[in-house]
Symmetry: C3
Subunit: 345 residues, 3 copies
């Protein structure tokens, strides 16, 4: 239970108020109580300050006259809040031990302070860096290398010859390095193309629960440093996710597509294969990315929900769009209206 003054010091933030005030937890503005710390990260939330019971707030110095209570002042309140969550972290911690029920090959190399939990399996020629934590029932395949302090959560499967950097988290039931979906058609049916390359994951990468990052056929699948990937995401063989790119849940990146740095790919976005996506591209939810994107910026596709009957009419008319456009053109011709004025719209 840190006092407010200790939090000020730990977070490097200027304190206004009583440094001895105990803070027992972090809480959202709407629910925080007198012994809890909350935060305001956006100006639009300042209107909630009248109603909060928070004992102290992290907020921007520009907003300080809006709040009479205790405060920790930050130019980047959301980032300061993120750092505060580390102080109040309540996750279980690694034991630093190999559980008796884990199966660890004699030919695996374990760094200092490695934790391997119950029922995990570490195959031959695996290298686990210092402080690595392999969760219960997780699997690390032959020859894979896991960097320092990386955590592989329970049930995750890392196939053979995968390289994962330092300080990554692979969340539960994720699969890294399964065979890419590569088959050649033949008269006798699909012939599997053995996926001979692997998956290379940089440092500080997160791969969400139940996500799949497939190994490449001839080229490695790559996730660069600092990329963050949510749950149930598909990264197909030979794809590349640039540094610090964020990919939200259920998005799918097809084979060989190269995504730049600092992109934000929203939930359920689908990308075709063999595309190139520039740096700093943002794609809205369910976006249908069928061709390369060469310019940074925000893109979206899709249609909004409507009440069912209205939508049925819209969807039906969608299939007549080309006909409608040509009818408009005919009307314009008949009336001699100049359509050019709208061409750049």
């Amino acid at each position: 239970m840190p006092a407010l003054g200790e939090l000020s010091a730990a977070l490097g933030l200027e304190l206004r108020g009583d440094p001895g005030r105990p803070i027992v937890a972090l809480a959202a503005l709407e629910r925080a109580t007198a012994d809890e710390l909350s935060f305001v990260s956006e100006k639009k939330h300042l209107s909630k300050l009248d109603k909060t019971s928070a004992g102290a707030l992290i907020l921007h110095p520009d907003w300080i006259e809006r709040w009479a209570g205790s405060a920790l002042l930050s130019e980047a309140p959301y980032l300061a809040f993120a750092k505060a969550t580390l102080i109040f972290d309540n996750h279980p911690v690694a034991t630093g031990r190999v559980h008796r029920s884990a199966v660890v090959s004699d030919a695996a190399a374990l760094g200092e302070g490695v934790t391997i939990d119950a029922g995990a399996c570490i195959e031959a020629d695996v290298t686990l860096g210092d402080g690595v934590w392999i969760g219960a029932g997780a699997y690390i395949g032959h020859g894979s290398v896991i960097g320092k302090k990386t955590v592989i959560k329970p049930g995750a499967v890392v196939c053979h010859a995968v390289r994962i950097g330092a300080r990554c988290t692979i969340h539960p039931n994720a699969t890294i390095g399964a065979d890419g979906f590569g088959f050649a058609p033949s008269a006798e049916g699909w012939v599997r193309i053995q996926q001979l390359a692997s998956v290379i994951i940089g440092d500080d990468v997160e791969i969400g629960a139940n996500s799949a990052v497939d190994r490449g056929a001839l080229e490695d699948t790559v996730v660069e440093d600092g990329a963050i990937i949510d749950n149930l995401v598909q990264i197909a063989h030979g794809a590349r996710v640039g540094a610090r790119t964020a990919i939200a849940s259920q998005a799918g990146i097809s084979g060989s597509t190269q995504i730049g740095e600092r992109c934000v790919i929203a939930g359920q976005v689908g990308m075709a294969g063999h595309l190139t996506i520039a740096n700093d591209v943002h794609i809205g939810g369910q976006g249908r990315v069928a061709s390369s994107v060469t310019e940074p910026g925000h893109y979206s596709s899709g249609t909004p929900i409507q009440p069912l009957r209205a939508w049925l009419r819209s969807a039906s008319r969608f299939t007549q769009l080309d006909q409608m456009a040509r009818r408009i053109a005919d009307l314009e011709k008949a009336l001699a209206v100049d359509k050019e004025e709208h061409e750049d719209s």
Copy 2:
């Protein structure tokens, strides 16, 4: 092998026909044989009665003149059929034992008749209610509480401090309580926001295979009593799924979105974050829900498949829609047509 009379008694349904007739199985109308029981749940299927060979049918009393054979009469034939499946259930049953290869913390509290199968791992301070069944290789994290008669299927991962109610089923390879996807941007890259809250699941909830329900940052993620969630569904941190709401496969609910009671969310629906969805809202498949829905009812979005060339034209015209609308307006102006008559369409 119950006789028809026994089924009548067990299901509380009026019998027409020979109570001694043996029924060996349930079967679909099209395939049922003379010693099998089938059902008709909708009027539109009555036309199939001429062709069925079923030995007996569950059907509505109003339809009885359409069927000369043995029958169990029910005002709710589909519900009666559901109850009949319980009588013919052929799933493996729990042993009531802890398998020698399971790893159970001394600091876990086990109720009466708990089953823990091979290789499962139960961490410290876990509480398992009476009759709980933990499947092979499943993982229950520190301090989690599982209510009476809940079944955690093989390979499912329940992280720390999760609370699951009674009579739930968590299907194979589902992940409950992994860290929500919360990061603050900084000059050095994404900074993780520790997810300090948890997941609270009510009674009689189903979570499908390979689905993920993430833990919250400051607010718990909540799935209320009687909600049913299909496979490969994403429930992000801080979201709430109201009582008896059904969510079909591959739908994704973003962070903090609050879904009301008795909603039906179809497959591959995507919901943005921080929305509020009223009670009794139905969203059609692949629906793109980008803003809150305040009124009950049926909603949909998207476009229908077309043959490829026709679709290419429609999709191309979609990007010209605003221009088309303005060209129509210009034509109306030129012709002095009153467009107001369509405004309420």
Copy 3:
């Protein structure tokens, strides 16, 4: 390290060049070095031949004058490449042993040369054919039958009474035979319909990582011979996937839908339930399949991404489409333009 002549013999391809030339690996055209073999599968890639450093190429005899170096000539270069990947395969191989930490029921029947890796669990009445390989931590439920040489990868869960044919691969963390999503509404909430049928998978089938194939209620879910299914795919209860059909990542097939043979279903396609899809149907990415498809061919739906502002206008106009169409009709009436000429467009 085979010599080129050995590769020629093994692949049954005519060699042009030095049979003694050592080939150490396969590589993509752009990166292949002088001791590596590459391939050209499509005419459009012939322009890259000027720049490649590959030591030898698999290519079509018609293209031979475009390439002065060593070559293996094939009428089907992509298929020949697929077969070459088998020669250079670097995957770990099965040990043919049952690991001491695996839990195998005395009532399971194991064929010749079965491999069962660490922590796997094989329940009673399971039959494993000759050469079957069960990966670490995988689970095979009561009474399931796995055909010869099929590989069940780490973390995969096969529930009870499932039948899988020969030479299949079930990739990591896939779930086969979980309960279909079947519930009957009642005044007391959803009542589970026990899923009494199972999953039947043919020979030479692939099921991707983290995919789910649910068991049926009364009818088995069926995946026919030679079908290939990618990661994170949902196959709901009672669906049928025809022989040699390919389903890409994150597609979802709802209950009872019957897909024909040799179809290609792209990523994130969603199919409603109870549909029939003809043979040789191709559905483009994110396709919204709400009704049956009776004719072979290529189909697509959806809209392309646009820059955000442009898309907002398009999406907004989409909801006005019916009104726009009627305004066009009014204009045509006012002008007496004949719209019939576009009706068949």
